[in-house]
């Protein structure tokens, strides 16, 4: 077995504990089925291009992106835990190169991201069912969003984990950054109608782009703006990925 695959196996074993899985499923379910229906009284429908969506369908599609982002926290947690508990050095005195370690983290977040997206799509499907516009782009869009989104947010989590040593610092920073990503985005509410500074803030957030792409795939609202969003997302992911790799490569031993 290739060294990277062995490390992916190990990463999945240590990160996919029951607590994490429950969190990954319960949290979105609460949002989709509780907040989704509760807010229907306030938000009757959301206009997405030519398509009019009811709020539960809107939030269920948003939760796919949200969950991809959340699941990639795994990457940061693996790196941070490995450094804190001495496994980073131990792996690097074993039959592995640093590139194996880095790649194993990339594959791990891609796998976790894909599984997470598939999971939430399945859970939210009863709500999405009415509005889904299956076409040739639906599955490729979802896979694209899962992989690029995982790499982007995984890189952010990795960058944070390489810069911080204390558990308090790591938790505070990671929670603050991901809280901003989660709630200053179009995952939970549409940009149109929001106050101007907030609407602008939405588009400084990669989760907005990720969610827009997922919705375009599911509801068939693909247009030039979504294409631009895909380009932005890929570019930002590439830059962050390079930075994360550089930091991981230079990580002190």
């Amino acid at each position: 077995m290739h060294p990277t695959i062995r490390l992916v196996n190990r990463n999945l074993t240590i990160s996919l504990n029951p607590g994490f899985l429950v969190w990954q499923v319960i949290f979105p379910i609460v949002y989709i089925f509780v907040a989704g229906f509760a807010y229907t009284a306030l938000i009757d429908s959301v206009q997405l291009g030519d398509v009019s969506l009811d709020y539960p369908a809107f939030i269920a599609s948003g939760m796919i992106g949200f969950n991809i982002m959340n699941s990639t926290l795994v990457s940061g947690i693996i790196i941070w835990n490995d450094r804190r508990h001495g496994m980073f050095e131990q792996i690097l005195v074993g039959p592995f190169k640093r590139s194996h370690y880095i790649l194993s983290n990339v594959y791990t977040i891609a796998i976790v991201g894909l599984i997470s997206a598939a999971l939430i799509t399945s859970i939210g499907y009863p709500l999405l069912f009415k509005s889904v516009q299956f076409n040739l782009l639906t599955i490729p869009f979802l896979i694209f969003a899962s992989i690029v989104g995982s790499i982007l947010f995984g890189s952010i989590a990795s960058i944070i984990s390489t810069r911080l040593r204390s558990s308090e610092g790591f938790n505070v920073i990671i929670n603050t950054v991901f809280l901003f990503f989660a709630f200053v985005s179009t995952a939970f509410y549409p940009a149109q109608g929001a106050p101007e500074p907030l609407a602008t803030g939405f588009y400084l957030n990669p989760l907005t782009y990720l969610v827009d792409i997922i919705r375009a795939g599911i509801f068939g609202t693909f247009n030039e703006f979504v294409m631009l969003e895909m380009l932005v997302l890929v570019s930002v992911a590439a830059v962050l990925f390079v930075v994360a790799i550089k930091l991981l490569t230079k990580l002190d031993l």
């Binding site: 077995m1 060294p3 062995r6 490390l7 196996n9 190990r10 074993t13 240590i14 504990n17 835990n81 508990h85 001495g86 496994m87 050095e89 131990q90 792996i91 690097l92 005195v93 074993g94 039959p95 592995f96 190169k97 031993l253």
Partner: protein
Amino acid sequence: MSITTRSLYKSYGDLTAVNGIDLDIKPGKVFGFLGPNGAGKSTTIKLLTTLIPPTSGTIEILGINAIKNPLEVRKKIGVVLQQPSYEPNLSVEKSLEKYGMMWNVDKQIRKQRTEELIDVFDLQEIRKKKNEDLSIGQRRRVQVAREFMHEMELLFLDEPTVGLDPSARRSLLDYLKNKAKTGLTIFYTTHVLTEAEYLCDEIAVINKGKILAVDTPEQLKSTFGQEKTIKIHLLERHDKLAQLLLGISGSEVDFNTGTDIIIQSRRAEIVLSQVLSILIENNIAIEDLSAMPTTLEEIFLKMVKDTNAPDN
């Protein structure tokens, strides 16, 4: 040779952690690397295990150039680093099993070895416990046991007995002794001299990044330990004791109590007879008298003290 280094240097800014080390370690031997804290032991291990590159010099491990082919070296060695390493949420048996998987050990062999090591390292009672719930000593035992999940030709152990109780410590040393008999080369750093004396075929003493001496424990004692130590304990305190013994070189008086005379000399017997004459002349009663050969620990302390002296 299992390990050969020539003019090995490692500097961090102005600090030279490893200062021109030459090593030749034969296969199947247990090589002890002794030094006080901060002497350069762990840095040397990090260099030899390819974790960090040297500033200059050459390293050959098992005939492989470790600077050019670090991965090839790492495939053939085992390393237990000084710092703890563990996966907090895995159980002890899962840790062993996963570590074997990381080393590409066949599933059946992994299972078998896990059971063997749980038995040898007395981990039966904690096998289902998570690493995060273990004591420091238990974690250390798992860390050392884990390294035997895979095959290796050379094992580096950086102070592996830290945190172990005396019985676990002895079990580990005996296990390592037996492993060495099967042909495994062991590079063992410690500052516990009795461990080194018990386990090692050859010992190097390092301080301030430099090797001060390399030899077998017996040869080190015979070369550096020709001094004998004689201790005389007096029945009661004598304030003029130091004054009385002033003319005799090689004797020390414990001034705190005024009741102990310690003689350290290559000619301890002659010094002893001189001291005894003075004590008899002055009617000073002796309660106890003992003679001891110099231990490896005393040699080590003396070497370290000499190199720490301002002239050095």
